[in-house]
Symmetry: C2
Subunit: 205 residues, 2 copies
DNA sequence: TCGTGGCTTTACCAAATGGTAAAATTTACC
DNA sequence: GGTAAATTTTACCATTTGGTAAAGCCACGA
């Protein structure tokens, strides 16, 4: 245990841990925490169940590990909102990056959504500690931009919520979107253009 | 069985079925399909597990029943989009009604979201048959409004997606929203005002 | 070549879970 | 009040599931 945590661990450990995490991401994101069995993860990872429990203490540790890894990636686009940049471009760029993530990492997006849906039982404190300060900081930044007249004023918090909601919708509700968009030529481009229009009309002074 | 389906059923049947469905809605919406046990439903309903299986064939039938009931309620605000009304008012009214629903029926909202998140495994055909035609019809209506110059043109499909996404966000991600909104005494702008602003600026000619 | 320590498998287990059979009880109606 | 049907309880069961113990395997340095 101490070994696995302190040393950068052997090649085989790294390989198997990432094999397990990848398999787990696939299954957890599709079936949720309780809907996922260790056997499913084991099969997808090509390892035996006890072997998986050699690398992780239990099902919950795998899930929490995934969630923690996710946090970084997830918050990154918000972190990079630049106070020095052009306000509208910064916001639109943020929308763009979130939308790209929804398209490129749908499994992570669904994992996150599923966890929040159930009240973030395995993420609560981590959420408050990691997300809240960043959220407050960026709200303040946006407020400054608005006060300076660079953006039309709206509540920054709801602005951020609506960016999250619209961008993640495409990953989280993909099955619904797909059914309803049957026959559209370039769905990806459509979403992008639409969201740029939406937030430009909202914010452009 | 045939009795229960054909006759309007006794008072006691109605009472117990709705007791079960209410308990099941609570638990399913909180823990998801696989995360919910018949024992949990039974306890919350104040009935024994075998008694529950007297009224429903199994866990899945309870879940499907809930989903089907939900469909009606859920689609209703979209159904009432009126071709004769003022276009912008009709859209804003739709937003308003969806937001009210998210506030008043958060359990239903989360149940629906959870089902879609997992690829709608117990809803697939029902979705396509019930939602798609209505969706196409209302997209066409909105397109007509736009062509006539009553609304600024955007892709009607993405407009509807963004309305769903933003309004449901408040119910589905309530735990996240609550954490992030902590400590602000008076929100300068409520969700309702914000969304009205958002869609007005998007659509007003 | 022989240990030694990290890794993997085999063989389990206890609890939880969806579900059933049938006896016991209540209800509705005459 | 009596009886047949509807309802509820008691006592189970088979399977699934997260997890463990311990034996076996394998790579590698001495």
């Amino acid at each position: 245990m101490t070994q696995a945590q302190l040393k950068k661990s052997s090649r085989i450990q790294q390989r198997n841990r990432s094999l397990i995490l990848d398999a787990a991401l696939e299954v957890f994101s599709q079936h949720g925490y309780r809907g996922t069995t260790l056997d499913q993860i084991a099969e997808r990872a090509g390892l035996s169940k006890p072997n998986i429990l050699y690398y992780f203490e239990g099902k919950e540790e795998i899930h929490v590990t995934l969630l923690n890894q996710l946090m970084e990636t997830w918050l990154d686009p918000l972190v990079t909102l630049d106070p020095e940049g052009d306000p509208l471009s910064e916001i639109l760029n943020y929308v763009q990056r979130k939308l790209d993530m929804a398209h490129e990492l749908p499994r992570q997006s669904r994992l996150f959504a599923g966890e929040i849906l159930q009240g973030a039982p395995r993420m609560g404190p981590h959420l408050e500690a990691g997300l809240k300060p960043l959220f407050d900081e960026k709200c303040a930044l946006i407020q400054i931009w608005m006060d300076a007249g660079h953006l039309r004023p709206v509540d920054p918090r709801h602005l951020i919520f609506s960016i999250w909601a619209t961008t993640q919708h495409y990953a989280d509700f993909a099955s619904q979107v797909d059914v309803l968009l049957q026959g559209e030529p370039q769905p990806q481009q459509g979403a992008e253009d639409y969201l740029v229009t939406l937030f430009t009309r909202l914010l452009k002074p």
